[in-house]
Symmetry: C3
Subunit: 148 residues, 3 copies
C-alpha cells in the first residue's frame, strides 16, 4: 500500500480466490482500507483487472438475492453449449468462456463509493461483491484507489 | 455540504421522492452543486445508496426515450409473478422486489462526470436521472462528490 | 489539454470517428495521455458525451470476442423493425435509434482506471473501447480526466 498522507492517494490490490460462479463479498476489507487511510471526506474507486468477472454492489441481507441474481444472469447469457448461443465464435476456453466476457460487459468493471465522515457512504443494505463468471477457480485482483 | 475551498472535496446528499417506476431527472440540481463549488476543472461522482434503483445518463430531449427505456427493462426483467420468473426465490417484499435488484445490478450505482471550464462536461443530449425500479413511493439518496 | 502540474487534474477530449456498430480500441491513446501527465499514482476517468454509444473494457486478444459481444447485444436489443420491438415509440431517427439508447443504458458511460507506478493498472487482457451502437458514421467525444 502506498501512503495516504497529505494529498497523495492511497492504493492497494485486494486478491480474492474464487471457486466457481457467484458473488464473493469484500465489504469489510474495503471498509478497513478506507478507515485506515484516515480521510474524513474522500472517494474510494474499485477496479477489477479481468474481463471474465465483475464488481457489484448489491443487497447484503438475504443470500437468496445473490442466488437469484446469479440465476438471472445464467438465463440471460447461457453457456455456449446452449442452442440459443450457437452464434458464438470464441469458444477456445470452454462453454463458460465467452458468456463470462458478455456478463463482464453487462456488469461494472469499476465503481466509486464516497467516504463521508471517515466511512464508506454505502446504504444500509449495500455490500461490495466480486461477481465471478467462470466455472473454474480463479485468483482475482481488485485495485482500490482512495483519494481526497 | 462540506466546503469546497482549497483541495478538500465538496460533498452533499440529494434526496429524491419517487412515485413508482421510471426516470426522475436531477441534472439541474447536480449542475448547480458543481457550479457552486467554483472549480474550473474537476470530477463529479454520483453514488446512489440503494439496491433497488439506479443512476442513468440518458437522452433528455424526447420523453418517449425514457418511456421506451422503462418498457425494455420491464420486458427484460418481468415482475416475479410472470411465469418466466418462476425460478426466483427472494419474494418477501412483493413481485417487484427481486426484479428491482436485478435491474439495479444491470444499471449504474455510480457515475462520474468531468467538470471542464467550470461546467459539467455532459453532451448536448445527456441528462442525469434516477431510475426507480420499485412500484411504491420511495425516498432516495444520491451522494454527490466533487473533487479537483 | 490543461496542465497536470502540481495537483491540478489533467483533462483532454479524445475524438473517434466510427463507421458503424462495433468496438473501436483507444487503449494506446489513453495510456499515452496518462504517461504524459507523469503521475506515479492517480486515477484516470473516462466519460463519453453521447447517449447512443458506450465505453467498454474488454478482452484485447481475440477479435472474435468483440464480434461475439456485438452479436449478443444485437440479439438482446434488436433493431426497431424486429417484431419483438414493436412496443417502441421513439422511432424518429430510424430502426437503430432507440435500440442504441437502450444499449447505451446497459453499458458504461463512465469508467475509472487507477494509475499505479506511472501506468494504467489494466489487467493483461484488458483494452479500452468505444462501443458504437449506431449504423451511420459518427464523430464521438471521450473526456479523459486524470487526477492524483
Amino acid at each position: 500500500m502506498s501512503g495516504a498522507s497529505g494529498k497523495a492517494p492511497a492504493q492497494t490490490i485486494l486478491c480474492l480466490e474464487t471457486r466457481g460462479p457467484g458473488l464473493y463479498e469484500f465489504t469489510d476489507r474495503a471498509a478497513a482500507f478506507a478507515r485506515q487511510a484516515g480521510l474524513k471526506a474522500g472517494l474510494l474507486t474499485l477496479f477489477v483487472r479481468h474481463t471474465s468477472c465483475s464488481l457489484l454492489i448489491q443487497e447484503n441481507a438475504d443470500p437468496d438475492v445473490q442466488r437469484d441474481l446469479a440465476a438471472f444472469f445464467r438465463r440471460l447469457v447461457p453457456h455456449a453449449d446452449d442452442p440459443r448461443m450457437d452464434y458464438l465464435v470464441h469458444r477456445a476456453e470452454g462453454p463458460d468462456d465467452m458468456p463470462a466476457h458478455i456478463k463482464a460487459a453487462l456488469l461494472p468493471v469499476s465503481l466509486s463509493v464516497p467516504v463521508m465522515d471517515g466511512r464508506l457512504a454505502l446504504g444500509t443494505w449495500q455490500g461490495l461483491y466480486l461477481f465471478e463468471h467462470r466455472d473454474r477457480p480463479h485468483r482475482r485482483e481488485i485495485v482500490l484507489h482512495l483519494a481526497a
